[in-house]
């Protein structure tokens, strides 16, 4: 279970909107990748699978698969916490190229 990225619904007339302020939970229409100046790059060879990066990511954008990890670059903001948490030095923050 996690919020899903969907195509933004078309909103043009009142009836396109819900009655009241209640709508489908976890409904994402825009990514956050444009916020990033640096991006985490994971060196799978050095990763020990400790999952501290996964645990501490404020955005939850480290996806784990067993004991390996990957980054959801759609929503990673490049804060660098994962790299700081990584005792094995497996995550480097690299300059984002526009």
């Amino acid at each position: 279970m996690r919020p899903r990225l969907v195509d933004p619904p078309k909103f043009g007339s009142p009836d396109d909107y819900p009655e009241g302020t209640s709508f489908e939970a976890g409904h994402l229409t825009a990514v956050n990748s444009g916020w990033r100046r640096v991006r985490p790059e994971i060196d799978g060879g050095r990763c020990t699978g400790c999952l501290l990066c996964y645990l501490h990511c404020p955005d939850g954008t480290i996806i784990r698969n067993g004991r390996t990890v990957a980054v959801d670059y759609d929503f990673c903001k490049g804060c660098g916490i994962c790299a700081k948490m990584c005792k094995a030095g497996a995550i480097k923050m690299e300059k984002e190229h526009a």
Binding site: F11, P14, D16, Y17, P18, E19, G20, T21, S22, F23, E24, A25, G26, H27
Partner: protein, 388 residues
């Protein structure tokens, strides 16, 4: 059905019992207090199966009711005066979120100066909060509105909170013989609450969100449209009510001798009985007087008022409210209705009953004389000095 000699607050509480709300959150304030005392007793003795939440403030009373409504159950709260103003932030919140909460307000003066007696400045200050507003004229109507309000508020086309107003002390604490329907008939009248967009574990919801400039106006438009659409829910509710209980209500307004009236006095709440007597007296002295009682301030009966007074030579509004430096809120609403309908007869606004001050039949009789004499403007009953 039983006939009971009870106060307006007791009658209101009986109506709430018959509607079976599941969560009641309230904070005591004079003159609302006996409503929540009666409801606490009913919850305590098991005659009402509800949770009574002893909130620590009126802000929390309505905030709690919003939460319970978002959880998908019927809710009730009650307040008055300073308490209504203290919870004010939550009123547009409930309306914008389209939570069909019912709240009783015991109309009471607003400080300063402090005063516990009845006037309508509290609810009229919140006329623009997005709630439907009804004003009862007696205890029976209070009880009946408690039942009808849920059916109207919860109509899927409406889904808007509803404020029932009873004049403090004059209605809340006056004893009358009231017909209390039996629970079976009440259940036949009021269908179970079917919430829209409430908390749902199969289909989770994000509720009470922000909507920026691009989207915001659509939510406001729909809330506005919903209150306009409540007109048909009100009509349908009154029809069903009359079918089941035999008591008739007349929609957003109630007319008295307006058909051939030259001078129509518009008022709301408990003063209307007095006004009707004064109109009879005025007629016996040759002034063709009529009285129009506003039952609903929201939705506002603009067309109904304009149609009812279109043949009159003058119109006046008597209300227990004033917006300093302007006029009473009822008068400004009525004025806009007449203007929109292209009516331009002389009009006046009488401010009476502030802080619970008694209005006599003679006072109202003088209003009709003033109208016949062509007097206009905003005037305070009992103060002769002219306002420039």
């Amino acid at each position: 059905m039983t006939r009971e000699f009870i106060s307006g607050n007791d009658a209101l509480a009986q109506g709430v019992r018959l509607a079976s709300p599941k969560v009641i959150s309230a904070y005591p304030i004079t003159p609302q207090t006996t409503v929540v005392e009666r409801l606490s007793e009913m919850v305590g003795d098991g005659s009402l199966d509800a949770e009574f939440i002893h909130v620590e403030s009126e802000h929390s009373a309505l905030s709690c009711a919003i939460g319970a409504s978002a959880a998908g159950v019927r809710t009730f709260t009650a307040t008055s005066s300073q308490g209504l103003l203290y919870m004010a932030e939550c009123l547009p919140y409930a309306a914008g979120g389209r939570f069909p909460i019912v709240m009783m307000n015991a109309n009471r003066s607003v400080a300063l100066p402090w005063n516990i007696y009845g006037d309508q400045r509290d609810s009229l200050l919140l006329l623009d909060s997005g709630w439907m507003q009804a004003y009862a004229q007696d205890a029976q109507e209070g009880l009946d509105l408690a039942l009808m309000s849920y059916r109207i508020a919860e109509d899927p086309e409406v889904s808007t909170p509803f404020m029932i107003n009873l004049d403090g002390f004059r209605l809340t604490h006056t004893y009358e013989v009231v017909e209390v329907p039996d629970k079976e008939s009440a259940d036949r009248f009021l269908p179970p609450f079917r919430p829209i967009g409430s908390i749902d574990f199969k289909d989770p919801q994000n509720i009470g969100f922000s909507a920026g400039p691009e989207h915001n106006v659509f939510f406001k438009y729909k809330a506005h449209r919903a209150v306009l659409r409540s007109r048909s829910a009100i009509a349908g509710s009154e029809k069903a009510f009359s079918d089941i209980f035999g008591r008739e209500y007349t929609g957003l307004i109630e007319e008295y001798r307006c058909e051939d009236a030259d001078h129509i006095l518009i008022t709301l709440g408990s003063a209307s009985g007095l006004c009707r007597h004064a109109a009879d007296a005025a007629r016996s002295e040759g002034i063709r007087a009529g009285v129009l009682r506003i039952r609903y301030m929201r939705p506002f009966p603009a067309e109904e008022i304009a149609a009812a007074v279109s043949g009159a030579k003058s119109v006046s509004v008597l209300e227990a409210d004033v917006s300093f430096g302007g006029s009473g809120a009822v008068f400004s609403n009525v004025g806009a209705a007449l203007f929109s309908a292209g009516l331009s007869m002389p009009s006046s606004n009488y401010i009476g009953g502030l802080g619970g001050r008694r209005i006599s039949q003679g006072d109202v009789r003088r209003i009709f004389s003033d109208m016949a004499a062509g007097k206009t403007g905003v005037r305070f009953i009992g103060i002769e000095e002219g306002l420039q």
